[in-house]
């Protein structure tokens, strides 16, 4: 059962080959069996079986949603009423939200089953899942390596078949990079397409939730549920949601692909470069035309991102003060002691580093030089993309400069770690949608192809991804030991 797609599982449920309870139990058993991967922070066994039972009673109904009774899992950044939402931090190890994130509400409305809450870098700050308070997550393709981050638990769980699909969030590459490193399919939607309400904020102007699955076809199904305007999120966009599955089989004849030359510099690993090249050739065979384009300000993306994201996070994380919820130090001597010890004890090193960077960048006398300058760079980068996307339909390139690296390899070198997002960060600054597709292996580790589209072109991106997956089987590969 665990190798089936959502569409296949939905058929199986309706054909009564198995019930949602049985299906859910099968996944729960697998989660237990492979718990060393450390994908889940919370396994919501009881809750999942209850949901499955309810779903079974709904399945007979003609208008039951496609996701009815399908077990999926949620990144532990989405607030779930009554079930711990830790955001990968000691700070929220005791936090149980009194409300559901809008995304969770939408999955509940479709009667999907939630297996549990997935591991992640602390407050989504990281590219390897190693900053999690709950420990590193292993990549099933090589358990000595990281799954990427911050949605590392989501990517690893999907690759290891511990869920059929999951949610992720992407602030600078947190859906695409782990998808790439774990050989699965991930979509980072246009900023504003998916509600951020109840999705714990890291950097509000960059954060965007999206689906992660084995195939584009499954990602389209999740996206259908997740997308849409939300009155509770002022930055969500009031715009009709297309049918993401309807156009999956559209032809790619005449598709114009742009290859940004900045994505293919000499720094790019040769094996990755050749995997990307083969993928582009597949697209040519499908009728696409390819031309080189340029994003001249790409090199400014990482510094601009680390100013903006850190500035926003420094304010977003101020609410964790030990006063109303979350970790509080023992017997504080006074107010200042309460603040400094509660925060000092419960935030990890990477989170502290970013709060400090952001606080510095916003300080009097530095604001113009850092924050304002970074916003100007952000505009330039957006303009680069607009220019490029006026010439072609989509841009393609690698997701990550490397395949999965060893656990512990980069933890002492934050700059090296930040460079892991060199190809993904600019897309968040521009607010564009982008996907990561499995497109081969380098040194027996998965390589991801990145496809970047214009605003609100998620349907087209899914179509482009799906057509590739009709002529390749990279997305169907299973890591050894997890068949």
């Amino acid at each position: 059962m665990h190798n089936k797609t959502i569409t296949e599982l939905a058929k199986g449920l309706r054909a009564k080959e198995y019930s949602s309870v049985e299906l859910t139990q099968a996944y729960l058993d697998r989660i237990k069996k492979y718990q060393d991967l450390n994908c889940y922070i919370t396994v919501a066994e009881e809750n999942a079986l209850e949901q499955a039972k309810l779903a079974d009673s709904q399945l007979a109904s003609a208008d039951s949603a496609l996701l009815t009774g399908i077990p999926i899992a949620q990144k532990d950044i989405f607030c779930t009423q009554g079930i711990k939402t830790s955001c990968g931090s000691k700070m929220l190890d005791n936090f149980i939200a009194p409300y559901n994130a809008t995304v969770i509400e939408k999955f509940n409305a479709d009667n999907a089953v939630m297996l549990g809450k997935l591991n992640m870098d602390e407050f989504a700050m990281g590219s390897s899942n190693e900053t999690s308070f709950y420990g590193a997550v292993q990549n099933p393709w090589d358990t000595d390596t990281v799954p990427g981050g911050s949605s590392g638990g989501s990517a690893s769980a999907i690759a290891a078949r511990l869920t059929v699909a999951a949610t992720g969030t992407d602030t600078g590459g947190s859906i695409r990079q782990p998808a790439s490193l774990c050989g699965i399919t991930g979509l980072k939607p246009t900023y504003g397409r998916v509600s951020r309400f109840g999705m714990i904020a890291f950097a509000s102007s960059l954060d965007q939730g999206g689906p992660m699955a084995r195939s584009a076809e499954d990602a389209a199904i999740l996206m259908q549920t997740m997308a849409g305007f939300d009155t509770k999120d002022s930055t969500s966009v009031d715009r009709a949601v297309p049918d993401y599955s309807a156009g999956l089989n559209n032809s790619l004849e005449g598709l114009k692909i742009g290859l940004p030359k900045e994505f293919f510099s000499q720094d790019l690993n040769n094996d990755i470069a050749s995997a990307i090249e083969s993928a582009i050739n597949e697209y040519k065979k499908l009728g696409a035309e390819v031309k080189e384009v340029s994003l001249p300000n790409m090199k400014l993306a990482i510094p601009a991102y680390y100013v903006i994201a850190s500035a926003e996070c420094s304010a977003n994380l101020s609410r964790y003060d030990g006063v109303r919820f979350g970790h509080r130090c023992h017997s504080p001597a006074d107010l200042n002691d309460l603040y400094t010890r509660s925060r000092g004890e419960a935030f990890g090193a990477e989170v502290k580093r970013r709060i400090l960077m952001g606080t510095y960048a916003l300080s009097a006398g530095y604001y113009d030089a850092y924050y304002i300058k970074a916003q100007k760079v952000r505009c330039l980068i957006s303009e680069d993309f607009s220019r490029a996307l006026s010439e072609v339909d989509v841009l393609m390139g690698p997701v990550s400069p490397s395949t999965a690296f060893d656990i512990g390899e980069k933890t002492d070198d934050p700059i090296e770690m930040y460079l892991a997002d060199i190809y993904t960060i600019a897309i968040n600054l521009a607010g564009l949608p982008a996907m990561s597709l499995p497109s081969g292996f380098a040194d027996s580790k998965p390589v991801g192809l990145q496809v970047i589209g214009n605003y609100f072109s998620e349907d087209r991106l899914l179509n482009i991804a799906h057509q590739y997956q009709q002529v390749t089987d990279w997305h169907q590969q299973t890591p050894k030991g997890f068949e």
């Binding site: 951020r196 904020a201 999120d233 002022s234 609410r319």
Partner: protein, 476 residues
């Protein structure tokens, strides 16, 4: 040396919205602690602010009323600081691009009109309240007030005395209530003010170093706090010291200001645009709506009262001091059809006097405009005398009856029948020969005695004008 005082005010007016500025929680005052604070007000993880458009509309209304530039595009920013009653660790406020830009307001001071500049007015959320008593050495936090919409109105340093500052504050207070954007309740903290105070030698161009007096919540205290601070600064400079830029607190009990924190200790608030909120766009449609909705402003109304009703400046100012009172007056005038003088007198003297005595707001008046008009009609048509009218008014205040019903029940109808009055007069003259003699020998004062006797005999119901006229004839 002669010193000049320079004052600028920052007034915080709570916008009279039903719900908070970024959440759907109620803004009603006086609820049990933390019963009107939802997840957004508590700053729980994952929650997001959604701007209350009504607060924006009210700010625009204020901007239009002070003839200010109302921005097409304005931005909310985060003001970062840690405090237990500030749930998010930042306050959503506005820094660059406030909703309301440069405007002005005219005040009256010693019969002169003075224009006070308004630098800006911006929307922000209020913080919660820290309760330091009753928690055994701990501090209690009440977040009911957190997220309440405030309009911070910043003036230019245009005021030169505490008196001017109070006049300006009163004017803003009157205006926000006129516009119905703030209830103006100072006890409940709906209207409060910070004062920036400095002194300089008279004639000097540059401003002196200022101190900011925080959170003063009455007109009386504003005046006292400024005066005492000015005195402190002058004494300090004259004894060779220098004023430092700092925040000071006014202690009403000891009538002194005390240092709270110096500029060096001041927070770096690290303002930056709030990425959770889109920039606010003030559309032409909203402008048109607000404009159509704008009431006649106090200064315009006052001018009109003087012209239309022939009132003197003072009466017009009294009657237009609140929109409700002005409306009350105009209803009385319209319903009664009486002269402006009669209506003005009755509303500004008798009616207001009774309200003040009973310590009631106009909304709580037991005598509405229609009932008062009913009384004035009976004065105008001579059914009752002015003196009897006061008695009827007291009964109006105490009962639900109309003036006509009271006059009828209590038999207060004035005697205008000249035959009846003549009979009384004849009797009085016959009974008081000595007084008649005195009067006829030139003692004009005795005339008053006759009038009094006639009125007494008629139980006050004789028409005084008629009595006067007839007495004069009889006593020739």
């Amino acid at each position: 040396m002669e010193w000049e005082t320079v004052i600028g005010l920052e007034i915080h007016a709570q916008m009279a919205t039903k719900t908070k500025i970024f959440s759907a929680a109620s803004t009603a005052y006086g609820a049990e602690p933390n019963t009107q604070a939802c997840a957004v007000d508590l700053g729980l993880p994952g929650v997001l602010p959604v701007l209350n458009q009504e607060a924006v509309r009210m700010a625009v209304k204020f901007g239009m009323a002070i003839e200010a530039e109302v921005a097409d595009y304005s931005v909310f920013a985060r003001k970062n600081y840690f405090y237990p009653d500030l749930p998010k660790g930042y306050q959503i406020s506005q820094m660059e691009l406030p909703i309301v830009g440069i405007g002005h307001l005219d005040i009256e001071i010693d019969g002169e009109t003075k224009r006070i500049g308004v630098t800006r007015a911006h929307l922000e959320e209020d913080a919660g309240k820290s309760l330091h008593e009753d928690f055994h050495g701990l501090t209690g936090i009440d977040l009911n007030r957190a997220g309440t919409p405030l309009l911070e109105i910043v003036s230019e340093p245009d005021m030169r005395s505490a008196k001017e500052a109070v006049a300006y504050m009163r004017k803003i207070h009157e205006l926000v209530r006129y516009l119905e954007i703030c209830d103006g309740n100072m006890q409940e903290g709906s209207f409060r003010c910070d004062a920036n105070v400095s002194v300089r030698p008279k004639g000097q161009q540059e401003y002196g170093t200022r101190a900011e007096l925080k959170n003063i919540n009455s007109f009386k205290f504003v005046e006292k706090a400024i005066n005492i601070e000015v005195e402190r600064q002058i004494d300090l400079i004259e004894s060779g010291g220098t004023v430092v830029q700092e925040t000071r607190l006014y202690d009403a009990d000891n009538n002194e200001t005390r240092s709270m924190r110096s500029k060096e200790e001041a927070n770096d608030y690290r303002y930056f645009p709030d990425p959770d909120l889109l920039p606010v766009e003030i559309t032409d449609q909203l402008r048109a709506q607000v404009k159509a909705d704008l009431p006649e402003l106090p200064s315009v109304k006052k001018q009109r009262f003087m012209e239309q009703y022939g009132q003197d400046k003072e009466t017009a100012a009294t009657l237009t001091s609140s929109r409700q009172l002005a409306d009350f007056y105009e209803t009385v005038a319209k319903e009664s059809g009486c002269t402006a003088k009669l209506c003005s007198n009755w509303v500004s003297v008798n009616f207001l006097g009774a309200l003040n005595k009973a310590n009631l707001e106009i909304a709580e008046t037991p005598v509405n405009a229609e009932r008062l008009a009913g009384l004035l009609k009976r004065i105008a048509d001579n059914t009752i005398s002015g003196k009897t009218a006061k008695q009827v008014f007291d009964s109006l205040w105490e009962s639900d009856l109309t003036a006509d019903e009271i006059i009828e029940q209590q038999g207060l109808k004035q005697i205008t029948d000249s035959g009846a009055i003549e009979a009384i007069i004849d009797k009085i003259i016959a009974d008081n020969p000595a007084q008649v003699k005195q009067y006829l020998s030139g003692k004009d004062k005795v005339f008053g005695f006759f009038v009094g006797q006639v009125m007494k005999a008629s139980q006050g119901k004789a028409n005084p004008a008629e009595v006067n006229k007839m007495l004069k004839d009889k006593l020739k």
